[in-house]
Structure formats: C-alpha cells, structure tokens
Symmetry: C2
C-alpha cells in the first residue's frame, strides 16, 4: 500500500505517556494530527505526573516495545519516526535494531534526559547508549543546551556539537530556552549539519514555562519532514516550521494545572 495524494503521511511516534497531556504522546499526537499527518503510536513507558513534576516512570520491556512497533512498520507506509522518552537502556538497544531494519525512514530524536520539573528521566548510562547506538541512526536531534552538554559529556557548546557529529549525527537543532538569561527578550536556536552551523533563528522570549515544548518541537519537525519527503532544503525547512509551530503553541498556551503551562496545539493547522 503506497501513500497516494489522498492518504496522509504516517508519522510513527515512539514515546512515553504524560497523563496531563502537556507533554509525551498527547503532545506528539496533537502535533502530528494538526499537521494533517496520521499519528501511529508505540509506547516506551507510562509515567505518573501532573503539570508540576514527574513522580514515576514505568518503562515497557524491550520485547513489548518491538512487538508494538514491528507490525505497524510492516502494515503501514511510515514516512517519519519521532522518538521521545525511551525509558531504559534495553529499549535504546531495541530501537537501534529496529531503526537499522528501516534505515530509509527519517528519524527525529528528542533526547529527553530530565523533566521540566527537574526529575531525571534518563541515566548517564542511557545517555551514553543514546549517543553510541542512536545518533548514527538519527536524521535530526533536538536537544536543549543541558541535553547537548550531557550527551556529549563536556561543558562547551562548540565542542559538544563536534562530538555528536563525530558520533555519526547528521542534523542537530539546538534550542537554548533552558539556559537563556531570564531577562533576555529573545531565545536563539541553531541548526547544525554534521557539526557545521547552517542557520540560526531568534524568537521572542515567552513569559512562562511550558510542559511539552520539546515534544511539540520534535513531533512538528517529524511531521514537516513527512509532508515534504523529497523537498530541497528539507531539514532546514522542517526545522523552521517546527519552531514556528511550537512558538505559536506556547504563545497560545494556558495554565490548566498548578504547575507549568500547557501549550495550545489546537489552533488552525499550520
């Protein structure tokens, strides 16, 4: 079954559930759907959390992760894969096996290492396995500064970007909201290809902290890639569109719980 002009591109989401709906697969599904792509969704973990912080993570087994994903990849024409929270080192290894088998499908990896509220969501061992096993299979990585430096194991951005490129990473979209001076009026994001700076964008700084901005960005990038499979400047354009969608979602966000704000991904389709 080939995708025709009448069928939407399928984006396979591989991530964890956040019951509050701010982040995780709810963020991913809303984002993919609002890009007019069909979300397919494989769970890596369940979490217990609210808008304030994460209390608990229950990773699925690597066996169940693959059991969920393989029939979908065999049954449906997946145009892009978005990976969020992975849950365990065994799941990283399982995903590497899966991605090698489906090498032609572009992969956007959001390397989630800690929750917005501060709780660690991946061990140092998992970060090392992510770099070694997943970066060579990743089309676009979307870290913030903390994630970039933790993955690379160093303290300077240029060195970290080089290290990840040396590990086999192709594209890197670095967001800097997490380390930008809170008094600054702008946030700068940078796109690198094989370690070389390709573009940068400045966005007006928004006044709140948001639950799921990173998930939204990566899912929007995967959707944009799925929508334009053979476009020139495909990743450059996807990186821009993903930031624009995310910024608008945050700007339209609201406080639904007691903690971080919820993005609003429900405005008119981008």
């Amino acid at each position: 079954m080939k995708t025709t002009r009448n069928t939407p591109p399928v984006v396979l989401i591989i991530a964890a559930n956040d019951p509050s709906g701010g982040a995780g697969i709810v963020a991913d599904i809303e984002t993919v759907s609002h890009h007019q792509c069909q979300p397919a969704c494989v769970l890596t973990a369940l979490t217990v959390q609210d808008s304030v912080n994460v209390q608990r993570i229950e990773a699925v087994t690597a066996e169940l992760l693959l059991a969920q994903a393989e029939p979908i990849l065999a049954d449906m024409p997946v145009a892009a894969i978005k990976i969020g929270l992975i849950g365990s080192t065994a799941n990283i290894t399982a995903l590497a096996t899966l991605l090698k088998k489906w090498r032609d499908i572009p992969v956007v990896l959001d390397p989630i290492l800690r929750a917005g509220g501060g709780k660690p969501l991946a061990s140092q061992d998992m970060a090392a396995h992510m770099v070694q096993e997943l970066l060579p299979l990743t089309t676009l990585l979307t870290p913030n500064i903390h994630e970039l430096l933790s993955l690379a194991g160093c303290s300077e951005i240029p060195e970290a970007v080089e290290k990840l490129a040396a590990a086999g990473l192709e594209w890197l979209l670095l967001t800097t909201t997490d380390e930008t001076d809170p008094l600054s009026s702008e946030v700068t994001n940078q796109l690198f290809c094989q370690g070389q700076a390709v573009a940068s964008w400045r966005w007006p700084r928004l006044p709140h902290t948001y639950h799921g901005s990173g998930c939204t960005l990566a899912a929007a990038a995967a959707s944009a890639i799925a929508l334009a499979p053979n476009a020139p400047e495909q990743i450059l354009n996807a990186a821009y569109r993903a930031q624009a969608f995310t910024w608008q979602s945050l700007a339209a966000g609201c406080q639904l719980g007691q903690g971080q704000w919820h993005p609003n991904r429900r405005f008119t389709t981008p």
Copy 2:
C-alpha cells in the same frame, strides 16, 4: 484553578493504545483536540495490533491506573471523562472507585468487548462487572448492537435497553452499523434516556469497515459534553454532534494498512 473563557475544557481519556492510530487513545486524542478541548490521557492497557486485528493486550495494574489518574483529577479541572477499553476486572473496580470520588464529572463509556477484526477484548466476567459497577456511574453509554446485547445478556434490543436502564444507566446511544444489513443504504442510531427512546438518526451507509469508529464517537460525545456543560438538551446535542463528527471522519477516511480503513479526524474543527 477554574476554567475560564480562555482555557479549553479538559477531557480525561481513560483507554488503551492502538499502535496503528486508527482506534484507542490516538483516536480519542485526535478527536478531543479537534474539538478544541485539551486531552489528558490515562492508559488502561497497551495492545499489539495493526489495521487487520489485535494480537495481544497488556493491561496495566489497577494500582498504576489509579496512580496515573488521581494526580490529574486533583491538578486539572476535568470537564468530562471518556472511558474505552479497560483491560481487566480489577481495572473496572478501580475505575468505579475513582468515578464515585469524582461523581460530578460526566462520563462517556464505550463498552468495548471485541476488536473490529473479531478478537474478544473483554471477558463475560468483565461485561458483568461493567454493568454492575460502571453503568450506575455512566452518563452516556455508546454500545453497538453486539455490545448492548452482550452487556444485557439477552437477545432482543428493547429488553436489553430496559435491563441496562434498570442497572442504573442514564443515557444510551445505540449504533447499529455492526448488525445492519450490508445491502441497506442507511444506518440508524438511537438515543435512550432511562430506557425511553428519545431520538433516532439515519446516516448514509459508508462502503468500508473502519478501525476506531466507536472510539471516535465516544470521544466526540465527551468533547461535546465538555464544551457545553450547562446547555439544555446537553446529551441530545452531544449525541448528534458526535455522530456527525464520526460520520464525516469515516467518510473522509482512507486505507493506510492492509485491513480496516483509518478514519480521518483531521478536517476543519467541528
């Protein structure tokens, strides 16, 4: 935190994941989001399936089900609850406890008993517990004919409707696609309140079978209820809007896998 005119109503989805994205929480999240409500999502089970059939169900424990749901209900103003596949008798009992604690929130229950491909998704014991423990706490039940008769344990529709009303059910929206003569050009759905017929609607029969039509219907009904909390004829209107949204989603559907068609819930917001 009260919902104001600027914040979307929150619809809490309590259901299982279908990795194909046709049914389950993907259907629910897409539907709730396209109604301009904020989805919050608690997993009852993971499944392994594609567009053809369900291979496996892994229910979460009742403890983890409640651990996911309770912080959300405490943190966010939930305007409606939509329940899909529940996964185990223990989960039914846990849900009954939860719903009793949050008695003011309207509940739409889609009593899923078997997959579109035919695989049973709930035991006879679970059906009995659903009737006894959940129907008295349900605002609107959305069975097809097979589900209605199985829940009531009888073979005639009028008797079954009476039996469920006697068990404490308030509203029942009966869909009949599953038993309509395939040569018929129309499908009739009926709404009952405490066992009394209130309204019926006829819809042009669509040519395919679809993965997730029941999930879409129940999630759309929950969204419509959440959007109009104090409206007169609230359930009557929600029942109509949910059918209209579902029918349009199916009519715009497409075949993405080898089996049942995917509804398209991504058209302009209803």
